[in-house]
Symmetry: D2
Subunit: 435 residues, 4 copies
């Protein structure tokens, strides 16, 4: 929320169109029926995502800065507010899947209505107003990109309920190559943590501050499907000693026996993907783990999860660049790292400085850090102050970004967060250990 | 399930087409989004009703009697079985609203596929086979008509969740006229109860048997909205002494303060209808009551509910004909009885024999009878034996048929049944008292 | 509630002392800790039973008829009211097990306080007042006897939670003798049902009225443990086709695989009893069945449950006397009928008139009748009108009385009632069939 | 778990007797009924605490080190294991309140049996064995002292359910004196955190390690009842903007409107205490807050909770000694700090170095730190490794010790932890802020 070297306004309006269009692009293969369903209370219907992201601009940009704006339907403010108490009453989150109206077509009209109003606003508002609106606009675009990722994870969860195994998008996936696990060492010392440079960031990435790290090691790559299958085969889901107490309660109450979306067939493990049911790629990173499963695996493997500070320090020092597979490029699967370009990159680095791989853009990596405020953190005033701060309890930080994350969201300091039981995000695990 | 004087086969095939077409006719004003939602576990999505009624013919007619039949999709048998254990595994009822596929269009293709196969079956099967299939076909048609009623009640419940108050079908309703409440007396004696004549009936209406009735009186018409509003205004929903103990628990746990779909506006009571939000017609029969509310009202009014035997005896002796407003005629609202024809009819009867009015076809009338088997009842063999018998517990019988019931389902012996808390059917109350 | 030929007042005061003393006698083997626990919400702690039965006399006799009475502690009225809304506010039923005070000793002081006040009332009140109090006193005594039975079933349920298998009372049980199952036939006709003669009865046994019964047969004795074990061994708890739909849901949600208190040991079936864990007596009647289990067994056996009217007509015509084992005599187990006296009795009757056995006093027999009001039933005015009427919904009638029932409660017209899932009463099943 | 300068063995056996006796001393005023009840699943019955602490010595000392030991009852191992998976099967925690046997008297026999065996073990075991047993013995004693605190909080919660407001122990409380709130400043820098010196500590206090702290300030004393009442009066429990999102859900779902045990009377706030219902002392620290309430108050007050590292650094630098009111001294109430001795102590310190007050021994102070492992933490091998580590998720750290904590548990590095919703501990809040 602290843009430093601001893009020109015309760059921002271009981005507005790009981001808004990409949201609709993601829906191209969906049937109308697919937009309606809320498959669990953590998810939302796609039609709601389409409308809520639009409501954001209507409420916080047009509603605040454009006196001439007329809402298409005043009830939408009630229907499509998510959790902004200062923005008024809200329709219950768990009941979002009970609404069939406005229809998808009507919601697309709502989107067009707001996009038209935004275009008029961009072209007619005085510069001083546009400058004041700019930070909110920035958040609105980043907010919509976050919802793009949620649309993919929510659609995947919804389609996975269906015994017909529907396909969201048919793609050919690169076949993975085995990568030996090695450890990369980091020395003790004070590190600067949090966002400090140019460009957009969320309030929760600030203020930049210092932490002291004891020496530690990080695995050069995420845990793979084959490695996790060994944990499953070793009875990992049946032995409480591997698990946090609360994690084991979850295993028992929800009957977990394998990662979400895995199925055991006679021909071996399969996994439900956005391209339908597929044989599991042994060398791809294991995905859709909860914090509990990531933590249990690490304990079984004689390691632990990294803290978010270790993770951030490591990516800064040995991150190896953003080599992931991003949603903007049309990838929606975590795949094992394609060899060529990376080997070159690795080859370019000195042997004495091994690089970490797949840190950014394959899958979100659980850290052991509970999501909390940085020293000196204060949420911004107004309703947007509710964006991050009030969720700083009983959630764990994930770092790195996934194959469903926008490329522009990939940065070293980005803090994603979910409850410890959440499994439906593209989330995996990278091992750490204390030296 | 005991057809006695069977219709000709060609009449049956005609009815097949009529009934099947009417199901689709009911959906004409729905948006695709409306087909998907299950607004509570007692309801089902419309797309499911469309498919399940089709599955019934596929499974019990084509699957049993047509060796050449090929299912369009073998997984549909799993997806669209409701509760027939002998017909194989079933998808969980409470999760029907989690499925977006097959789409509505695909389900219409499924309907056409089965309808085509049924046509071939009708025209090519040997007579002896058709005769064996006839009872199942009869049940299939009656089953589909029952689902037509559920489609209306389920759509109404779903649309009612929506703050936008969507309109299912815009209609003009006749304005009701006040009818004074009078009591019609019935003497003691043995009555014959249950279906005995020609024509189709369900197994639960048999065997015809004898019951002894002590003398009783029945109100000449159902309780009206105005009468029920007096109960509400008198604190009826706040005084536990009017209520059965279990009913009062429901009042407290679900916060009941008025009938389902009623809203108190500054301008007076309104009610959500299939034509949107409307001012309440004071003279129309009160509708969407649970058994608990019907019973509490009766106690408050110094009366009681009739038994199903009293009701059946009364309709036979003084029923006054089928004067209701049936779904086949395009009515979906309980309205106060239009004067003309009835007054004539009443006028035709002797003054010494007052008639009961609106017994058939306005709304289901709760009786005090728990739903159970008649003496000597045995369910038919095979999966269709699961149609009625296994639900004979903790449900109460409703009689008479509603404005959403097919005219061909209106008969003196018909036994509808729902749990005591169910409110989303077109259900009301007629008072009785012991002399 | 309609005493006709009233006992003398001194007989009534004698009964008061006898009944009150027997309540305390039942507690003699209990440890203080045993009085505190509420093992499920359907049960109450023994200390609560002791106090609530006392509260009844304090509230409805002393409070109404003795102006000089001073409550020992005014808060007890709140703590020990069960469900009488007209008698004031109540402490939540499910929270009865959260109270340790008043202690058992204090509650015994409360009992002595009320008993002393009652004695003074008996000896000083004018006859006209005593006569007015008499019906309430009668109910109070019957009420306390009902709670004596509940104390035994609640203690049994509570001790059964304990892996140590505590013994309530050590007794030698007679070894049962096999009795062949035969059918006793009853012809069609009108029967008089309900209480009509002298002596006390509850309001729900009235008014006496007529019902018509089609011909039926009743088994000469209840289903035995050995017979029920055959059902279990035949997979009875695994086959949904034997069960009512709601019963099967209960089987699945609560994991029922055998009657409550049965345990399968290497040496055969055992059962937890008030005398600890015992080998199952194959010829004793099967006990602690829910309505669902009784009904499923009957269906499996090709029979059905009797209606409560069939049961009452049968006991009147062929009941064979009250041959049970009553709590007053120190029996707390349903045992197979001891041969001697009964054989004599059977021998005394003509061969053409076979007698039904164990109808009264061994165990409550589930009927297929939902608990409802008799024609013309009206609850008495005042708080005692809440005794029976408001529970007439979603419960099923049991007849006959059990080994934990007071002998004075054994009568042909007595209607006990419990929800269909209840298993912790001494409840079993006698088969019926339609001829 | 790392005793460094070990006490002599005879000192340890003395402590054994002291600690064990104090447990029983705490029960002196309880009625037998009070030992049985589990008032919520977070609590345990007192009889269970008495037995479980004994089971600990039986299992981990006698069972491991004394081959001649014979258990009094082998089933106790099952009944009284809490959560040690490696020590065998366990009786369900939420069902502890369903057991009345073994009785309290039998459990005291069990305690005597184990104490006798321990005495024999102390006097006859070879020194080398005693030395090996010593660390487990140490844990066992600390474990029992932790349960002493839980006994007090569980008894308080249980008695508070009772409308009779029972008194646990009648005491006169010192009247509090107002203390102005001032801020104590701490500079940035690396601090050593965790246990490093002599004496016992738990594994979760190790390893000692370094953290970097940005500058911060801490309030000189905890928040008082009067201050918290101002928050309540200002609508603090009605305004979601003060609350974490999950905290607000809890406010709504559980109907929180004030701290646990507070009651609003006409004469002002009262609070249920172990001495019964008492007027609230305005200057005593507010107690029985959840993390959510502590956090909401801090936000309302324009401050925040300290991290556990800030707290530990502060107590080391300016802690002002252990001036609390400890359970060993017979205090069970957080009271406002008595002036005399402290003022002297404060007076002894230089004016330039203000001291923090009531850091140790009044009430547990919530920190903003999620409970997790220190860098390099590894649980000890064996069942005792389950003592702390597996709970490191979704709990928050409390520091300082309360009036119900043993004096020997008061140390700078001690980490207590509870879920964010827990209110029944003696827990309060001290404000912090970033400079």
């Amino acid at each position: 929320m602290q843009p430093q070297t601001p893009p020109t306004l015309s760059a921002l309006t271009d981005r507005y169109h790009t981001v808004r269009a990409f949201t609709e692009h993601l829906c191209e293969t969906l049937e109308t029926e697919d937009f309606v369903i809320q498959s669990m209370t953590d998810c939302s219907p796609i039609r709601w995502h389409l409308a809520h992201t639009t409501w954001f601009f209507e409420t916080f940009v047009l509603g605040e800065f454009d006196r001439g704006y007329k809402p298409l339907n005043p009830q939408y403010a009630y229907l499509f507010n998510s959790y902004y108490i200062q923005a008024g009453e809200r329709f219950d989150r768990p009941r979002r899947g009970l609404l069939s109206r406005p229809t998808v077509a009507e919601i697309l009209v709502f989107r067009a209505h707001v996009d038209g109003a935004m275009d008029r606003f961009f072209s007619t508002a005085p510069d001083v107003v546009l400058e004041r609106a700019r930070p909110v606009l920035e958040i609105g675009l980043n907010h919509e990109q976050q919802h793009q990722e949620l649309m993919l994870t929510d659609v995947k969860h919804m389609l996975a309920q269906n015994p017909l195994n529907p396909v969201f998008r048919e793609v050919d996936l690169p076949v993975g190559k085995e990568q030996p696990l090695t450890w990369v060492r980091f020395g003790e010392g004070i590190r600067e943590i949090g966002h400090g440079g140019d460009g957009f960031c969320y309030d929760n990435e600030t203020p930049r501050h210092r932490v002291f790290l004891e020496p530690f090691e990080l695995a050069n790559r995420p845990v793979t499907n084959a490695e996790f299958a060994a944990f499953v085969d070793d009875g990992g889901y049946r032995n409480p000693l591997h698990w946090l107490s609360e994690g084991w309660s979850r295993v028992e109450s929800e009957g977990w026996t394998r990662p979400l979306y895995w199925e055991r067939h006679d021909s071996g493990w399969h996994s439900f993907t956005l391209s339908g049911l597929r044989p599991l790629d042994p060398h791809a990173p294991v995905c859709h783990l909860s914090f509990f499963e990531a933590d249990a695996y690490a304990r079984w493997a004689g390691a632990r999860l990294p803290t978010e500070f270790e993770w951030e320090a490591a990516v800064v020092e040995r991150g190896g660049g953003t080599e992931g597979h991003f949603v903007d490029d049309g990838f929606y699967h975590p795949v094992s790292s394609p060899g060529g370009s990376e080997d070159q990159r690795a080859g370019g680095a000195s042997m004495a400085e091994p690089q970490l791989r797949q840190m950014l853009g394959d899958l979100w990596e659980w850290t052991s850090s509970s999501y909390g405020p940085y020293p000196g953190y204060t949420p911004p005033p107004g309703a947007l102050g509710e964006y991050n701060g009030k969720f700083m309890c009983n959630q764990y930080v994930l770092r790195g970004g996934s194959c469903a994350t926008s490329r522009s969201h990939i940065r070293d300091t980005y803090r994603n967060f979910f409850p410890a039981y959440a499994r439906w995000q593209f989330s995996g695990v990278r091992l750490a250990r204390t030296v």
